[in-house]
Amino acid sequence: VVGGGHLGKQWYQRRVGKQWYQRRVRGVYGTGAESLYTKNEFESGEDKLILAISSDRGLCGGVHSGLGKAIKAAHAEKPITKTIIVGDKAKAILQRTMGDTFLATFNNVGKKPASFTDAINVAEEVLSHEADTVDIVYNKFINVVSYDSTTKPIPGVASIEANDAIYNYDEVDSEVLKCYQEFTLANIVYHSIREQECSEQSARMNAMENATRNAGEMIDKLTLAYNRTRQAVITRELIEIISGANALE
């Protein structure tokens, strides 16, 4: 069942409740993974790679188009040269204006919740391309009725090494930093993909609930019109019969 709005408030809350619990767990992991970047200021490099996270499935309100709008706005402000797209929806939206910037696209996304292995595959693809910064664009889940497209910049190893803040940390050498960066990128990508799924699911439920309600209202209105018409026809026939009978007497 895609929407489930008609199954009642409790079903809705239970379903979303499970997402909320899983999201709390992921939130811990996600915030932990980006702690190095949030606690220290690393400058974003000029050479950006955009990682757009969406899915293959539609019927979810403005989730994918919001993402497309955010990316197109960024592209208009400063031309983007490299993108990696996860999900056919974003690919379709960005194909016309930014098709030549696509380095890789992923599909078969969104049918099942993403696993860490999926995130690793995406992260490996991202790391195989040279870039100063990776900007992850996805929909952040705010609450059951709202989400927002967010851009998360992840500085590359070269940017981090160029910044003095990293040398506050002990035991930092190129090898450790590279390993750390790879694992952290996989973590943050995983977190972003799951956030996106969460936003999409709640947007889909809202959209389906609205559609069901609108369809219900239309059915009610049309039923009334049907009954009125039917009764009007019966009344007219009765009048014809009665006046015909009267005329014979």
Binding site: R24, V25, S35, K39, F116, A119, Y169, D170, N187
Partner: protein
């Protein structure tokens, strides 16, 4: 810029000197993609197996970044009891404000490790390593052997 580096290093040294008079706990976040075991929970000490050696973290530890090896993470909680978990790999970050994030790919409680199952798996992975042909296969098999050896040591 050199002046800034010197100032930064001096501040780090001051922090090291102050380690002994620190507060007795620090916030630890210890989680994997599927489970969050500690979320900024106050703990007294954490021992982690890293590529630069097995070391313990106390409050006000020098900021560090470390990569974890397959091994046991041992956490001394505020109440004083010690919890041990086996991790397959991951990263550990210790920040200047004493918060610690340990993110592991897979975590399991040491008590849940079945000695016989792990020993059998270790034998299987050793033979896989012996018969591996390409560099990638060899590396993957070596990782398996390392993880199982870590588990056997704990089981």
């Amino acid at each position: 810029m050199a002046f800034r580096t010197i100032a930064v290093r001096t501040a780090a040294l001051c922090r090291r000197a102050m380690a002994t008079e620190a507060g007795s706990t620090f916030p630890l976040t210890f989680s994997s993609p599927t489970s969050a075991l500690f979320n900024e929970a106050a703990v007294k000490q954490v021992d982690i197996p890293s590529t630069t050696g097995h070391f313990g973290i106390l409050p006000n530890h020098v900021p560090t970044i470390a990569i974890l090896l397959p091994g046991v993470v041992s956490i001394t909680t505020e109440a004083g009891d010690i919890q041990k978990f086996f991790v397959s790999s991951g990263t550990a970050t210790i920040h200047a404000d004493s918060t610690v994030q340990i993110l592991a790919e897979e975590i399991c409680d040491v008590a849940d490790i079945d000695g016989n199952a792990v020993r059998a798996a270790l034998e299987a992975s050793k033979s896989k390593l012996a018969s591996a042909s390409s560099e990638a296969d060899k590396a993957a098999a070596q990782i398996e052997v390392d993880v199982y050896e870590g588990m056997v040591a704990v089981a």
